[in-house]
Amino acid sequence: MAMAAVRPTANLDEDRSQRDPWVGRSIERVEDAALLSGRGRFIDDLGVPPGTLHAAILRSPHAHADIVSIDIESARLAPGVVAVLSGAQVKVLTTSLVVGVKAAVECWPIAIERVRYVGEPVAVIVASDRGRAEDAAELINVTYRPRAAVVDPLAALASDAPILHGGFAGNLASDRSFRYGNPEQAFAEAAHRFSIDIRYPRNSCTPIETYGVIATYDAAEDVFDILANFQGPFSIHTVISRALKVPGNRLRLRTPPDSGGSFGVKQGVFPYIVLMGAASRAAGRPVKWIEDRLEHLTASVSATNRATTLAAAVSSDGKILALDWDQVEDCGAHLRAPEPATLYRMHGNLTGAYDIAHVKVRNRVVVTNKTPSGLNRGFGGPQAFFALERLVQRIALGLGLDPLDVVRRNLIAADAFPYRTATGALLDSGNYQEAVERALELGRLDELKARRDEARAQGRLYGIGFTAVVEPSVSNMGYITTVLTKEERRKAGPKNGAQATATVALDPVGGVTVHVASVPQGQGHRTVLAQVVADVFGLKPQDVRVNTEIDTAKDAWSIASGNYASRFAPAVAGTARLAAERIAARLVRIAASQLNAETADIVFAGGFVASRHNPENRIAFSRVAALSHWSPGSLPDDAGPTIRETVFWTPPQLTAPDEEDRINSSLCHGFIFDFCGVEIDRTTFETRIDRYVTMHDCGTILHPGMVDGQIRGGFAQALGAALYEEYAYAADGSFLTGTFTDYLLPTAAEVPEPQIIHMETPSPFTPLGAKGVGEGNCMSTPVCIANAVADALGLPDISLPLVPAKLAEIVRGPERAPPPGRSAPPQTARNRDRNLHGEGSTSMQAAPKEVWAMLLDPDTLQAVIPGCQRVEKVSETHFRADVVLGIGPVTGRYRAEVRLTDLEPPRAVTLHGQAEGALGFGRAEGRVTLAPEGPGGTRLHYRYDAAIGGKVASIGGRLLDGATRVIIGQFFAALARKTGGGTDAGPTSWLTKLTALLGGRR
């Protein structure tokens, strides 16, 4: 229908502050009163249905292993337990989650016969409370047969790599090549070729609130009613209902009023929605599960890590003529929906902010033994721009140019918008040149250069980095189909667009209510929507109530609904404006008839609907709004309904991938230009941000305070990615950063205040001219800081996070040797290699023969292993033991096996030990040699390799190596004591060491 141009005007006798539009002002957030006074309503705060049970999840300690057996009987009989589900039970109640590529591969929310990453669910225990569920989890006896693991994406491609899934070609889930323009010719003819290899690490923007699900299965209606702090996209609703084996209209998915942050991460709650749905069905009662922090860091979801080789064909003046991308994307152990979207989200933007005509791309997606990846703030941007912007710096170095000159030479011209990139994106608007010059001036680059020169003159390590990126927003729901060939796409049917929904309703006394399906996670959507709609109706924001909860059984929603891809301001807020304008246009007709005025003469302002020419001729907004309820018969015939209007809006620019694989992957493109000065401390190699300047053009700004808040928040998380954060894995797949002691988030003390500069080039494609702004710094800042640090240290290559010890390792010369007469101690552990190596010796007051006999004697072993409950002699050289290790606070029950090989009685033997328990597992292999010493004595020497995994490795990395060394030393010390001997083997404590494994502080 035609839309009347209705704008509030300033012709009424009102205070000026009430006449200006609300949009564009930093009004107080309607959300804050509740959030700042502890009245937020998060999922764990909400009441649950009577009889609700609580779930705990038993998770894999192994990165890759077959589940030989799983015994749940003791757990099932434990106090308070109602149901225990292993993979087999879940498999009966659900079907596999759909996988985003065409391959015969299944994806379950729980391990089926095999575990593929540390933290993968192995069993769900449902009990009267969480504590009892966790008690019972410890009674589940799982026998694993470990397999070799692979954690590196390039290693996963090797022909001899351990294979995770039978249905892929090796570990390769997808391999697509693309060609745009004539890259081969450009490379052949270019004066220069530059290339860079990048390893982008794994990290995540971790929310304060973890995942939560309350699932109720109603057997009478065959309906799942599930409350979860899921953030969308609601395309996943189809994945969930299919997995739960009900049609979509029998999955009622609801969200709580508040959510404690998401940053993409809470998209990943969906496998748990399936799991808890199945658990509720099995238990016959509602089931609640709140993820704990260890679970979250270990196994929720992660951004992808990526190995990229990027080459550029460059003219001698620094113009980039062509790019050649080779990206290997690591999605972890399962390809969960919507992956491999991280790789394709940026497909239209592989040329960044630059005018580059020829592009070649090879995109490979691999699976490795790590937590499956998913949505995360920046989503593909950090990985892609790190390569592109590092390459720009390298080009500048190679050509002897200022990096800024290379940036300037390649930026898209201001008169070229809307600009179609080589790979298909339609960049909506911008003036990148003006933005850069404005940032340099307001950000005082000259002064920063002077600071650098002064610092360098004093011998300090100081560098400056630059980045220019585009920030895409409002994802095309069809971009992910670029992973399919055009034939596959044709077969699957077209996918494109980005339906946004908004509903505006007027109640019988003229109150305005807005509902959207944007699922805010703390951003302040309700405030901005109140501003937008208040402006249309000439009201105050407090006159407009906004509800952002979702109930898929009752509310308007579509697959694109949700909180991701920075779609709120450009898409959702604009759609709310359209819905309000539709109602306003009808109210104009009603008011015109009531006021005997022309419709073109009607304006909304100050709570009235009035004649522009005769402001005294007016009627209260509430009266006009109420007429449709109280007196529909008196309305003019052409007025149309005004009670409630829902608008579905999808931008026509978001078309499906074309035959040449060009894809307009996002609707809007903001522009960001950052530069920063950093100093590296010569002693500690810590990076200090001297000044950080970030220029944003995100189109029309709806709420300046919130825009700056988004920039600051993104900057803080990006600083974390640059300097601190990594989901670290050992070579054997052990997960090493399971607590915030090891996964380091920057805090207020670490985050400097960036200088934020704005420019507004409205988007012609969105109703309000707004573009997204939430993710940009996650894309620009990590590489900007890396460029500055590389500049400071003169490094050609640099990888994140910029850990001081790692920088020191690269920059420093050889270490000063130990004092004369002393050799360097053997390294006890190497980075990421969980095989700890060590040795020691001890004296015994018994002859080698006697010591030998003791080593082979179950009774002695029982005596020297503290906490040993029972030793079973399986054969002369094979023992089984139940061991409770623990002195002081730390206790754990372990099942241990000891085997002896390479026996050379009474001189040498190799001991193989392994132990598995609730705290994790350990494997050790040690060569023990016995030599006579003095009269009737023995010198026992041992050398070992040990590996520890599971929970202890995830939470105790800081002290694990030392603790292992002490524990092994303890075994032999105890043996020595048994013979009445002394020991050189360390202090008198046992697994107290594992106290350390915790991150808790004093």
């Binding site: 008690d135 010890a805 002081g888 730390v890 030392g962 002490v966 404590s989 060491k993 350390a996 004093r1002």
Partner: protein, 271 residues
Amino acid sequence: MKPAAFDYMRAGAVGEVLDALAQQGGDARVLAGGQSLIAMLNMRLAKPSLLIDIMRLSELDRIEEKAGRVTIGAAVRQAALLDWPRLSEKLPLVAKALPWVGHVQTRSRGTVCGSLAHGDPSAEIPLTLVLLGGEVHLRRARRSRTLAAKDFFVGMMATACADDELIEAISFPSQGVGRCAFREVARRHGDFAIVACAALATSDGVRLAVGGVADVPTVRQWPRLDGSALDDALNEFAWDLGARDDWHATARYRRDLVRAIGRDLVREVLQ
């Protein structure tokens, strides 16, 4: 992340604590701030059958000066010691190191003696106690004993405190006039120290203590040193500490910091 079931006892007298420890020994844990213990319970790293809360015992919540020593009871919170008006005068090194212990929030709950009991090799309070020649006062049902700090820490997270013993207090000798300095390197403010160093000028030279590298806080005493002699001494010390790699730092990085920060601190206090 819920603890296994345990009994909780809020002690009304020290005698009750000692009786409970005598009866339950290793199955009981003293709760004194809980900034490490509660997290361990939640992680199920520790499953004591009894928690004995000593925080209502006013006789343990005292900071006392007598006979040239400052005695700090088992229930004194780190924040309370930091707020003690005479801290900078009597124990300037402790005044410098305490702000590095965790964060404001953890210091407002955590106790001075609790940090000692935990025995973390990176902890600042044990480091200062060892450097200053402090003592640990242990008590059990029928007898008390006092250990020098250097004998109290026997290994990583391991102390000489027996299962049935309560750390009743620690005491520092008042520091006198010797200059002191403290410096720590951690990844972020409040993190576990990668290297923590404290130095104290003595009548005949200097003492340097290093935490975060060896299994226990470790002290060296030297005569007045400078130049290459100081560098040689620091190099030997750095190698002797047996540094290890972990996720946040390499052994080499730790040794480098011991050499560099050690030199800075020794020079600072000997100025």
